[in-house]
């Protein structure tokens, strides 16, 4: 156990640095994924049939393959086509695309749960389909989808660890490095696990709080 304290004292700063990188990668990916998800969901909502099929194929492609494969492709395979990207950007792109697809699916589920009558009421007032979406329905959808989206954020933070494979100095990579130097693998891994667990728990609490604040009786809660 002296090893544990050793680790924290000697390698605390480098771990913190890696932690920062992990969080940066995760939050930016989540944000880009969110914007992408909304764009995809909007396209899916308003497109004619043939475009919807194309979107469906894209979504199935990303959902049917592991994120690791997508990451490896962007970092290791794209260079053969002339596109060479650094580890951070590769991980960012892979995770953003992956998250966009999943977030668009969560949004789609939420959109489907909005009764058709809300759309009809908006259309009857003179809104176009697009402005009904932007001004009315999307506000309901985001509230409903909030729990799924927060889970996605926590999931991304967790899975940012695959950037280990492309030599990005995020938490798991740095942990292995420290482990190979000190041979106290288990201790480092446990410290790192602690980082992840803490972030997940704190975020859950924050998001639960936000969800409660934004809840509207009758929309996100059942009518008493």
């Amino acid at each position: 156990m002296t090893n544990l304290i050793d680790i924290i004292v000697n390698y605390g700063p480098s771990l913190a640095e890696a932690f920062k990188l992990t969080l940066e990668l995760s939050f930016i990916s989540f944000l880009l994924g969110f914007l992408g998800g909304i764009a995809l969901a909007t396209l899916n909502l308003l497109s004619p049939k043939h475009l919807k099929i194309f979107i469906r194929i894209l979504i199935d492609l990303i959902r049917g393959t592991p994120m690791t494969v997508q990451l490896f492709f962007i970092y290791y395979a794209l260079p053969t086509f002339g596109i060479k990207l650094d580890p951070f950007i590769s991980a960012l792109i892979a995770m953003s695309i992956n998250s966009s697809v999943y977030q668009s699916e969560y949004l789609r589920t939420a959109i489907n749960s909005i009764p058709r009558t809300q759309w009809e009421a908006a259309l009857s007032l003179g809104f176009t389909k697009f402005s009904s979406w932007i001004h009315i329905v999307i506000h309901q959808v985001l509230r409903i989808a909030l729990p799924a989206l927060t889970n996605e954020l926590i999931y991304i933070i967790k899975f940012s660890s695959i950037a280990y494979f492309v030599t990005l100095p995020e938490l798991v990579y740095v942990a292995e490095l420290i482990g190979s130097k000190t041979f106290a693998y288990i201790e480092v891994y446990m410290v790192v696990a602690f980082f992840y667990i803490t972030v997940a728990f704190i975020l859950s609490e924050i998001m639960e709080h936000i969800y409660k604040k934004l809840s509207v009786q009758g929309l996100t809660t059942s009518l008493t």
Partner: protein, 231 residues
Amino acid sequence: MAENNFEVLRVKLVMELSNLFQTVVFIVSKGLVASIYLTIGSFFIGLGLGSIIAFLQIIVGGITSKILNIIVRILRSIPPILVLFLIFYGLKINSYEAAIIGLGLISASYQSQILRGVVESVIARQFEAALSIGFSRWEAYIYIVVPQALLASIPALLNEFATLLKDTSIAYAIGAKEMFTLAINIANARMEYAVPLISVSIIYLAICLFISSVSNYLVDKLKYIGLGVSW
């Protein structure tokens, strides 16, 4: 001259496609079975452990349920790679076993919540009715709740299976024998990543699409007995 270029391109395309095809066949024959066994192994560990956790949370409840809840949340916040590393380096077992146990534990945390959700929703709808007919509590669980819960949870569990299959690719980190590791080894040997990656993607895609069409089919059939997903 233009015709020549076209011919060259066509030949190259055919070559690449047959290369792709050969790689797919190779990976399927050498790695698919290992990946499938890995997935099945961790799935059933997850199912078994998950059922126990769900059972404890529902039947015993109280503090036990709260403690289990925290354990589940912890398992769901740790990156899979880390879990695999901890088990592999910690327990000093071979990589294949470490992968099954590690992925199994993670899957258990997800499956316990799926099962718990389904059972609780079936109980909410059917338990009182069963009691009113005269079933004892245990009979109500065994004859009414469990059968329906099993059927209703199939789509979600199939989804979990597909997710597990994709997660097995992480076992590359500890060098386990499965498709993705094989694909990367091929890529390193040939110094070329695109074809092996696309090949293995095709295999993952084929299996996942198959699973989701089975799942959709079952969801349709389940609607007839009132167990559809409520949109």
